[in-house]
């Protein structure tokens, strides 16, 4: 083969390999780090997977927040118009976490309890996480047709 052509071929092969490696890396990293969002009613309906990390979001049920006496473990309930999900978490809750306010928890469902590794609340007075807002709006609209 002509040396120049050989060089070009080598370059193309390298580029193809590089792009494939990068794509493979993106796809693998993506598939293991994508967290689906479920509103409580979907969790209650069994649509959410067990032992897989996902996010659940809704309002924090008034009166449901209870702190352990000796540790930083805390339990609370996230609810929407149709269902409730019990959440357990260990650590410090965000400043704007409050009863009857929107919150989104990331974690896994084990034995019917959602064990959260992270809890997010809205960050200012006028803001609701879009997923929670959408789910609420959807349910409100469905409700009006029933």
């Amino acid at each position: 083969m002509h040396p120049a052509r050989k060089k070009r071929l080598l370059l193309i092969v390298l580029m193809v390999v590089g792009v494939s490696v990068a794509t493979a890396a993106i796809v693998t990293a993506m598939s293991q780090n994508l967290n689906l969002f479920f509103p409580p009613r979907d969790v209650a309906a069994g649509k959410a997977p067990e032992n897989t990390t996902f996010r659940v979001g809704g309002l924090v049920k008034p009166g449901s927040v209870s702190r352990d006496q000796s540790s930083l473990a805390v339990n609370f309930v996230i609810y929407d118009m149709e269902a409730e999900v019990a959440v357990s978490y260990e650590g410090i809750l965000p400043d704007l976490f409050a009863e009857d306010e929107a919150a989104v928890a990331t974690g896994q469902l084990t034995n019917g309890v959602f064990v959260a590794t992270q809890v997010l609340a809205k960050h200012d007075e006028n803001y609701t996480p879009p997923e929670v807002a959408d789910a609420m709006r959807e349910q409100a609209e469905e409700g009006s047709y029933e």
């Binding site: 990068a22 890396a25 993106i26 693998t28 990293a29 993506m30 293991q32 780090n33 994508l34 967290n35 689906l36 969002f37 990390t53 996010r55 702190r67 006496q69 000796s70 540790s71 930083l72 260990e90 650590g91 410090i92 809750l93 400043d95 704007l96 989104v104 997010l120 960050h123 200012d124 007075e125 006028n126 803001y127 996480p129 879009p130 997923e131 807002a133 959408d134």
Partner: protein
């Protein structure tokens, strides 16, 4: 009254920016130099009008004019005066006005400086920037005017500025970042002008270089301070979250870094022309994309403003016009005659190519991760979020590759380098880095990753530092070294400092959430924390629970005060962490929540070499600044010699 003046001057600025887009272009068409020169005047006029407009909004804040909706929603009579002023850019409407005003500062700078630029070329740059300004002002007046009145029912009291924004970091972080964001428009305008002129020389790259560098300086400083602010104000000690809005500022930065490197190849060797143009277009497009992500509220983020689809659509249209228009121009007018210059694998060209490639790939992976939730939502694949791990897994390895090429590049010559010469020079800093890494690693008792972090960080720092050492002349010593070389040295060394900071805090930080009562000591490693007392503390517009914490570390004793504030007007709760900043470690104390028996849940952290992340960012910015202005003074020198 102030609001009306503000709105009026904003509309006048709208008109002035139409003239800015029109007259210089007309001058080019008619080959009339005096029309082209009008660009300078209209640029200054746009600046003057927008300055009045911003000042009017500031005056409305200072006068507590709560009949103005924006003031009523983001201020309060109890708010200290400096926060009243910074509230101007504290939320959507005001900050977009502020952003356009900063664009007009760039316009002013361009009209005062840039004297070496050919008149007709500058006219085209002004026309392009006039269009950009026009689009952004249209966005304000049609979708988000900060001057709307709440008449006839004006409230007596405002609802206060978001407490998160009542912080020194917030006073300086957004303006700096905006300067950088908007700065990408300037490099973009240069690139577009070069396409329009079908330039086949590299002069435009030479003209664009300092502007692109200064833009990058501000992006670097803005991101660095943003990270520091997140650490101090909302991060619970975290300093980077791969939050969509952080990514939105990181992407233009990555591309800007690629751009300044590509520009230098362009200037010195006349190659990478089309590539440089594409980078300039991408940097600006990514800035607009960032603006879209922040303003539309489509993504869950700590930075997101309340959702408004109309605003999102407007920016999306601007973005489509910019990307579509510029790529179309590129397709029609890109330099057709590619310059062929041979260079080997061990050449500066090749390494700069690698650097560009890596940076663009990182940008691409970050872009995919950031936009994926939007794409999935649009295609009805469910509502998803991309975890921070994705970015760590994909972007960090490529970043490590970039870091590896950085210390090598300055030792390489253009075209090709003798490998034995390269080895003989680079071996000294590498050996020194190895020895130092072993000593530091051993004395710190680190794992092998710690050794690796120190070795790579020190290798970059020492290799960069040895460049001026090797290239100093016998007669004049270090004085013979050009400012641009110093600039590169500082910027690359900053990268090394950053590597140490990021690596050490990620590997060696200790973070503990504990239950603490007064007088009960808690130890982390050889640092011991004792709460002296919990008490009430009142500020001008908040009431706080505070804790005095005594930190014992060997022989040194520090007293820190952490606070949990409740802002009176909004009822919002804010954690004010107490940080004892140090050169080799940060000690961080934050109050979580009060528990039943009066104890508090507290977060205690010891973070080794935390500051180095930000020192590194600062050095990068300083280096780029030296490089930008060094170029200018050198040109002046040669001019003097020529005369």
């Amino acid at each position: 009254m102030a609001a009306e003046i503000g709105l009026l001057t904003l509309w006048l600025a709208f008109g002035a920016s139409i003239s800015l887009a029109l007259f210089p272009a007309l001058g080019v068409k008619l080959q009339n130099p005096s029309l082209m020169l009008l660009g300078n005047w209209f640029a200054a006029l746009v600046f003057a009008l927008l300055s009045l407009s911003v000042a009017a909004l500031g005056a409305a804040f200072l006068a507590d004019d709560f009949s103005v909706a924006y003031v009523a929603n983001h201020s309060n009579t109890l708010l200290p005066w400096y926060y009243k002023l910074t509230a101007v850019w504290g939320s959507h409407e005001g900050s977009i006005l502020f952003q356009v005003w900063i664009l007009s500062c760039w316009l002013l700078a361009l009209s005062l400086g840039g004297r070496s630029i050919e008149l007709a070329f500058k006219a085209k740059v002004f026309s392009v920037l006039g269009l950009v300004t026009l689009a952004l002002i249209a966005f304000i007046v049609f979708t988000s005017s900060p001057f709307e009145r709440l008449l006839p029912f004006a409230p007596n009291e405002g609802s206060d500025l978001n407490p998160l924004l009542q912080d020194f970091g917030m006073i300086i972080h957004p303006p700096l970042l905006y300067v950088g964001y908007v700065g990408t428009a300037v490099a973009f305008a240069f690139a577009m002008a070069s396409l329009i002129e079908r330039r086949d020389d590299d002069k435009w790259a030479q003209w664009a270089q300092p502007w692109a560098l200064v833009g990058m300086v501000f992006l670097s400083v803005g991101i660095t301070i943003g990270s520091w602010w997140a650490y101090a104000e909302l991060g619970w000690g975290g300093w980077w979250f791969w939050d969509p809005v952080e990514n939105a500022s990181l992407m233009p930065w990555l591309v800007s870094v690629a751009l300044v490197h590509s520009l230098s190849v362009n200037v010195q060797r006349g190659i990478f022309r089309s590539w440089t143009v594409l980078l300039a277009i991408s940097a600006f497009s990514l800035s607009l994309l960032g603006t879209f992500l922040v303003r539309s509220g489509v993504i869950t983020s700590v930075h997101a403003f309340a959702t408004d689809p109309e605003r999102g659509m407007f920016i999306l249209w601007i973005l489509l016009l910019v990307v579509g228009g510029s790529l179309f121009t590129f397709a029609l007018r890109a330099p057709t005659q590619a310059v062929q210059r041979k260079y080997g694998l061990l050449s500066r060209e090749f390494f700069l190519l690698l650097n560009n490639l890596f940076l663009v790939v990182i940008t691409f992976t970050v872009l995919i991760g950031t936009l994926w939730p939007l794409i999935a939502d649009a295609l009805n694949w469910g509502k998803i979020s991309v975890g921070a791990q994705y970015f760590n897994w994909v972007a960090l390895p490529i970043f490590a590759l970039t870091v590896l090429t950085a210390p090598m590049a300055p030792f390489l010559n253009w075209k090709k380098t003798q490998s034995n010469r390269l080895t003989s020079r680079i071996i000294v800093p590498l050996a020194l880095a190895l020895v130092l890494a072993l000593v530091i690693g051993f004395s710190g008792g680190y794992h092998w990753q710690g050794y690796l972090v120190w070795f790579s960080g020190l290798a970059i720092i020492l290799a960069s530092a040895s460049v001026p050492w090797y290239s100093r002349s016998k007669q004049r010593g270090f004085k013979s070294i050009r400012a641009t070389v110093w600039g590169m040295t500082f910027a690359h060394a900053g990268l090394g400092v950053c590597v140490v900071g990021v690596g050490m805090t990620s590997l060696e930080s200790v973070e503990r959430d504990v239950r603490m009562g007064a007088g009960e000591p808690v130890a982390i490693g050889d640092v011991s924390f004792t709460v002296e007392r919990f008490y009430r503390l009142d500020g001008p517009n908040y009431a706080a629970e505070a804790a005095d914490v005594i930190v014992n570390e060997g022989s040194s004793v520090t007293r820190l005060t952490a606070e949990k504030r409740r802002y009176l007007a909004s009822g919002q709760i804010m954690t004010e962490a107490a940080v004892d900043a140090g050169f080799t470690r940060d000690v961080y104390v934050a109050m979580g929540e009060q528990l039943d028996n009066g104890d508090w849940a507290m977060r205690l952290q010891v973070k080794p070499f935390m500051r180095w992340v930000w020192y590194g960012g600062g050095l990068v910015a300083f280096g780029a600044l030296l490089s930008a202005f060094g170029r200018r003074s050198r040109r002046r020198e040669t001019m003097e010699v020529g005369e």
